[in-house]
């Protein structure tokens, strides 16, 4: 056979998500090939993937112009052939990696152009902790299994150009020189045959062309790519918060590795309550430091226990309540943040309505114990617990005023029942950390890290505290089959991870049992009972 008979088509796999215009992209490519005088074919499997699912498109182009084929027509494959792809272009990093994992990319042959952007899957988003896949790991796979790779944030490029990602992908493909088509051939198709000057083009076509040429340059000229990447990185960095500073004497009292976290924590509590409360924070932290010095005098672990406690103790002590929320939501900085988030133009009016639903516990929290007790008791007697669904317009005078009034109740917080409860629980945890650290550094460290379980408001917060206390009581203190500090540390670490795995706490209970501790007691919850009687016997 002649060499041309052995010539293989140029093969391209496009990965996109539903609604990203992958269909348009393939149509553009096929039309470009046609106008450039080459045989081409595209296929896809959209199915129901147009509903935000992952979808792929596949294009083949025969590298010899039709005129030189003497009327013969190449036979194209309808599906991508693993290990026989010349390029993979993808708008989402995880999907790129998925296709590489399917064996699509061959390191000797395949050029991979992928967006660095992630569109998180539902499973990654719904985890109580952090369920996100490590992007670096995904990038490593791209690097390891591609002949050549270009990585840039296609989403940002598309946004900056005011177009959709499909135009950017087309530019990337054109810029890579994968196909034997001149740049003009692509642009012609994007213009939809409209040859008029850029300013005369339809808005959409013009935007598409902008996105096209940006991507073309990024992939076509590596320097431009590097420049863009650095620009993107810098633009991300600009929100870095200002680091608060510590007073000299506080700084003296704590080893340097703790300082940054300590400064943040201290500042948080001054902002949350007052100097005296912040002082209590320092005093509590001193206990931890003392314990850590005792078990690790050399500071071989960089005072990690104290450092972690500086973080988690501050967060717990600054527990969220309606006063705090009102404070945060009524700040000018917040109003500005909202304006930016909704991308409001200068002369647009922005109305902001905040969703609150305080229940009896939230109000009881601010009352002295005796009163609070009565309120909650009353609430329990009700068929459905009391809650006040509010939509507060923080852009309105009344709304802002009421927020400020609530925020001003800070003084009441300290006298409130919840404050007392929280302090008691904090002390229990603190004691466990201190004892743990004295017994064994790692044990203390693990208990300290459990501060991560305390989060948020209402049921979430209750839930977290229950889990934490249960872990402390049964894994840190109570006798275990293997009560060695090492075993306890391992058990606590496992339990902490499990507690963040799922809402119901199934994983946590399993872990507890596995380490010889009892599962968490079932919390009584009212259920509307409906029981159909079995068929009556005649």
């Amino acid at each position: 056979m002649t060499t041309m008979n052995r010539t293989q088509p140029i093969t391209l796999l496009v990965c996109a998500l539903g609604g990203e215009g992958g269909g348009v992209l393939t149509e553009w490519l096929v039309d470009t090939a046609r106008h450039a005088g080459y045989a081409a074919q595209s296929t896809s499997i959209p199915g129901v993937a147009q509903r935000t699912g992952a979808t792929t498109y596949y294009i083949e182009v025969f590298p010899v112009p039709l005129t030189e084929l003497g009327g013969r027509r190449p036979v194209f494959s309808l599906s991508p052939v693993p290990g026989a792809l010349d390029a993979i272009v993808s708008s989402e990093l995880l999907e790129t990696t998925r296709q590489i994992g399917n064996g699509m990319s061959a390191p000797q042959r395949t050029l991979v152009i992928t967006s660095s952007g992630r569109t998180l899957t539902t499973v990654e988003r719904m985890r109580p902790g952090d369920g996100r896949t490590d992007a670096q790991r995904l990038l490593d796979v791209v690097k390891a299994f591609s002949r050549e790779h270009h990585v840039f944030d296609m989403g940002t490029v598309a946004r900056e150009a005011g177009t959709v990602v499909s135009a950017v992908m087309l530019g990337a493909i054109a810029g890579s020189g994968l196909f034997p088509f001149p740049r003009e051939a692509y642009e012609q198709v994007v213009r939809g045959g409209d040859t008029s000057a850029p300013e005369k083009l339809s808005k959409m076509a013009a935007a598409s062309l902008r996105g096209f040429s940006k991507a073309f340059d990024i992939v076509g000229t590596p320097r431009a790519q590097a420049a863009l990447v650095t620009r993107l990185l810098s633009s991300q960095g600009d929100e870095a918060p200002v680091q608060p500073t510590l007073s000299a004497e506080v700084a003296r009292a704590f080893p340097p590795p703790v300082h940054d976290m300590l400064a943040l924590g201290h500042a948080r509590l001054v902002d949350y309550q007052d100097e005296t409360y912040a002082a209590l924070y320092l005093e509590r932290l001193q206990q931890v430091l003392a314990a850590e010095r005792a078990s690790d005098s050399a500071g071989a672990h960089g005072f990690a226990v104290t450092r972690e406690m500086a973080r988690w103790l501050a967060l717990w002590m600054a527990f969220d309540d309606i006063v705090r929320v009102a404070e945060l939501k009524s700040r000018a900085s917040r109003a500005q943040r909202v304006r930016n988030e909704v991308k409001a133009a200068d002369d647009d009016i922005v109305k902001v309505y905040d969703h609150f639903k305080p229940g009896a516990p939230e109000f009881a929290a601010l009352l002295p114990a005796s009163l609070a007790h009565r309120v909650t008791a009353w609430d329990r007697r009700r068929k459905t617990p009391f809650a006040l669904p509010l939509k507060v317009g923080s852009h309105s005078v009344a709304g802002m005023a009421s927020l400020r009034v609530l925020a001003s109740l800070r003084w009441l917080r300290k006298r409130g029942s919840r404050f007392a409860e929280e302090q008691a629980l904090i002390e229990r945890w603190l004691a466990a950390v201190v004892q743990g650290t004295r017994a064994d550094w790692r044990l203390g460290h693990e208990i300290a890290l459990c501060g991560r379980l305390i989060k948020g408001y209402g049921s979430t917060n209750e839930h977290g505290k229950r889990n934490l206390l249960h872990v402390i009581d049964h894994l840190a203190v109570a006798p275990l089959p293997d009560g060695s500090p090492a075993a306890r540390s391992a058990a606590i670490a496992a339990a902490r991870e499990a507690a963040l795995a799922d809402e119901a706490g199934t994983a946590l209970d399993a872990t507890l049992v596995r380490h010889g501790a009892p599962p968490r007691p079932v919390i009584a919850q009212p259920i509307r009972w409906m029981k159909r009687p079995p068929a009556a016997t005649p």
């Binding site: 290990g83 896949t133 404070e327 002369d347 109305k351 005078v397 009972w529």
Partner: protein, 717 residues
């Protein structure tokens, strides 16, 4: 409808001398017109939806030609429509998704095939098998065999496909057998081109009507005693006639090869994949010139025994490349070779997997075995290197990733009206306890995925209510059936509602009234709000499905006594209504109508409207929801109640906190679910609703500036 086909409709008008460029399924559509089809029907479903969608949108042109287009209520009615070709010389075509659609149509197909047809009949089925399929994996082939229909499986080349459409009608007329044409998913979506012919206006049409009905002819009825005669005719006359036509017109393609003592019999639809596999093994060139002779079956049933025998006789071995199970073709070939005492070794499922799509890699693996055995001299090093390389690479990536990557199934669109109902259902089950949920076909089937993971069974389109009939009598708590309005009209009304009422079942049915068959591309149904309604709506943003009461009146007319209508975005109300239905003393059928128009359709209406208002400088209010990053508690309970693509997570800006916070990204359509959930589930108070007023009125500005001054005075930094 989701897509506008204006460009494609123009392509339908092309004539002799023009070249058609576009998708396979649209080429088929053009082929129907070139064959003088008189009537077209069907039911939407991937991958063949476009065939009908285009014809519906091309109504003016169809009227010009005199072609009748019917968007049928389900596949059974589409198949029954073909009855027109039993008596009359009318060419008819219908289309649907298979296997499911063919199952629904089965009864009519049997009753059509028995008397046979006079006018050519073509049933274009989307063979939804393999990668990207959304239904159970079965072959349509079985129906062709059992009912005696021809089965066309054209090579995925637009020219061949169109040619086979034209032949299909003639084949049907020669044999009196209805013809099916199976098109795999990628074949429907393949982009290519073919040389057009002129469209033929049918001789009898909506423009040229018949004056008299046919005379009475018992032979045309599917009714004893003539059914016994029909059964004989199938074997004695129809099959032989079909085989004659197939042979004489060379519908199957014989492709010679240098190794004449070997052969491969392949379904037309798999030809390209086979050729690529041969190329990978160095046994074919870029233009399909192959070393091993091929018999390409553009007609998968009936086979032409002589043709197959001639192909096989004297060869050292023949491989049958046939996708899916059972391997009907291979079995038939084995039988006919045995009967003729032809000793050629036959291979197929012994070298190729019995189940799943035949991709290039799968085929090449089987072919490599075949070649190894019968062409030992042929070097396979590079091919083997490629195959081994793939395996090793997959393993290597898996180890490098450690954990498998999270799946990304399709999900509810941004602002979908069905998502809130599953949020409410999740909450309701916290009140009334878990219930058995009979799920159904439609977008709402996405409720079976995270974050909801709800549904115990799916028994078919519109079958949910019927599918719990055996469950609910056996269970203390009530079972819930979920059904879309698409499924309701497709058959849920009869198989479910009517049956439940007749039997006095204690059942709960939730109907998603979004106004369209959305999953298949938002086609209109009888309960779709009409266009005048949409045109006259003052606020085009609101849902308009409440304007069409067909479902409600039908249910009332049928005698449903417990009927509640709830706007889907009212999560708390929906939760209460569900609890009510689960626990009410009323023991009959309880129907909840979840009312909320498909967001895709709403956006198709809203976007141009907003644009026009802004263009005119008119006042526009844009709603977006947001999360206060410093208030969000990083627990993501909100996401577990929503799963909206625009409600995602980002790094926690608070250096003290480690877990990511929720964030609402661009694309939010302000459907309101976030706020509703925040209240219904008492989520953390981090959600806010922002209303951006563009081009506000002067007094609005004034008020705002005054108010703003006071508010700013109250605000701390």
């Amino acid at each position: 409808m989701e897509v506008s086909f204006s460009k494609e409709i123009e392509a339908l008008r092309l004539g002799a001398g023009d070249t058609f460029h576009g998708e396979g399924i649209l080429a088929i559509t053009k082929g129907l017109l070139q064959s003088g089809v008189a009537y077209v029907g069907g039911y939407q479903g991937a991958p063949v939806s476009h065939l009908l969608d285009v014809m519906v949108q091309a109504k003016p042109y169809m009227d010009e030609l005199g072609v009748h287009v019917e968007a049928c209520s389900n596949e059974a009615s589409a198949a029954a429509m073909l009855g027109a070709s039993i008596h009359y010389p009318l060419r008819g075509a219908v289309t649907w998704k298979s296997i499911v659609g063919t199952n629904v149509a089965a009864d009519a197909l049997s009753n059509l095939s028995s008397p046979g047809v006079k006018g050519g009949v073509l049933i274009v089925v989307g063979e939804d098998y393999g990668e990207g399929a959304s239904v159970i994996q079965e072959r349509t082939h079985a129906y062709a065999l059992k009912s005696g229909m021809c089965l066309l499986d054209p090579r995925p080349d637009l020219g061949v496909m169109v040619n086979m459409v034209e032949h299909g009608f003639r084949l049907s007329e020669h044999s009196n057998m209805p013809c099916m044409m199976e098109l795999r998913i990628r074949t429907c979506h393949v982009r290519g081109s073919f040389e057009c012919k002129n469209n033929l206006a049918p001789a009898i049409s909506t423009r040229a009507l018949m004056e008299e009905p046919a005379g009475f002819d018992y032979m045309r009825l599917a009714h004893p005693p003539v059914t016994f005669r029909h059964e004989k005719l199938k074997g004695d006359e129809r099959l032989p006639a079909a085989r004659r036509y197939i042979a004489e017109n060379r519908l199957n393609e014989l492709i010679p090869g240098t190794h004449a003592d070997l052969g491969i019999v392949v379904q037309g639809g798999l030809y390209n994949a086979l050729v690529r596999s041969l190329q990978q093994l160095g046994l074919a060139d870029a233009f399909g010139a192959t070393d091993i002779p091929l018999l390409v079956l553009n007609v998968a049933y009936p086979l032409v025994p002589e043709q197959v025998a001639d192909f096989c006789v004297g060869k050292r071995a023949v491989l049958v490349v046939e996708e899916g199970q059972p391997e009907y073709i291979e079995q038939e070939i084995a039988t006919l070779l045995r009967r003729r005492d032809i000793q050629t070794p036959l291979h197929g499922c012994d070298m190729l997997p019995a189940a799943g799509e035949y991709g290039v890699e799968v085929l090449a693996t089987g072919l490599a075995q075949f070649a190894q055995r019968y062409l030992p001299q042929h070097a396979q090093d590079s091919a083997q290197g490629w195959l081994v390389g793939n395996r090793e690479r997959r393993a290597a990536v898996a180890t490098q990733l450690e954990a498998p990557l999270p799946a990304r199934p399709p999900s509810f669109c941004i602002g979908c009206p069905e998502r809130p109902v599953f949020a409410a259902l999740k909450l309701a089950q916290q009140d009334s306890g878990p219930v058995h949920i009979a799920a159904d076909i439609g977008c709402h089937a996405f409720g079976t995925f995270e974050p909801f993971s709800m549904g115990h069974s799916i028994l078919g389109y519109g079958m949910s209510l019927a599918s719990r009939a055996g469950v609910s009598p056996m269970m203390q708590r009530r079972a819930l059936s979920i059904m879309g309005d698409g499924g309701f009209w497709h058959n849920g009304l009869l198989t479910g509602v009517q049956s439940a009422l007749f039997n006095g079942d204690d059942a709960v049915l939730l109907i998603f009234k979004n106004g369209y068959t959305s999953a298949t591309g938002t086609q209109d149904i009888i309960s779709t709000p009409d266009d005048e309604m949409k045109a006259h709506a003052v606020d085009k943003q609101q849902s308009l499905v409440d304007k069409n009461q067909t479902i409600e009146s039908t249910l009332k007319g049928l005698g449903v006594q417990w009927l509640r209508t709830v706007h889907t975005y009212h999560v708390d109300k929906m939760r209460k209504t569900l609890n009510n239905a689960f626990t009410s003393d009323f023991n009959g059928l309880k129907v909840i109508i979840a009312e909320g128009e498909c967001q895709l359709e709403r956006q198709r209406r809203i976007k141009p409207w907003i644009a026009s208002l802004l263009k005119k400088g008119k006042r526009v209010v844009r709603v977006k929801y947001g999360v206060d990053e410093d208030v969000c508690n990083g627990d993501h309970a909100c996401i577990r109640l929503s799963g909206c693509p625009t409600l995602t997570i980002k790094d926690n800006p608070d250096p003290l906190k480690v877990d990511p916070v929720a964030v609402v990204i661009d694309g939010c359509v302000g459907c309101g679910l976030c706020g509703e959930n925040a209240h219904a589930a008492t989520l953390c108070p981090s959600f806010y609703r922002a209303e951006v007023v563009q081009n506000p009125k002067w007094h609005e500005r004034l008020l705002h500036s005054l108010r703003g001054a006071v508010v700013r005075a109250l605000q701390p930094a």
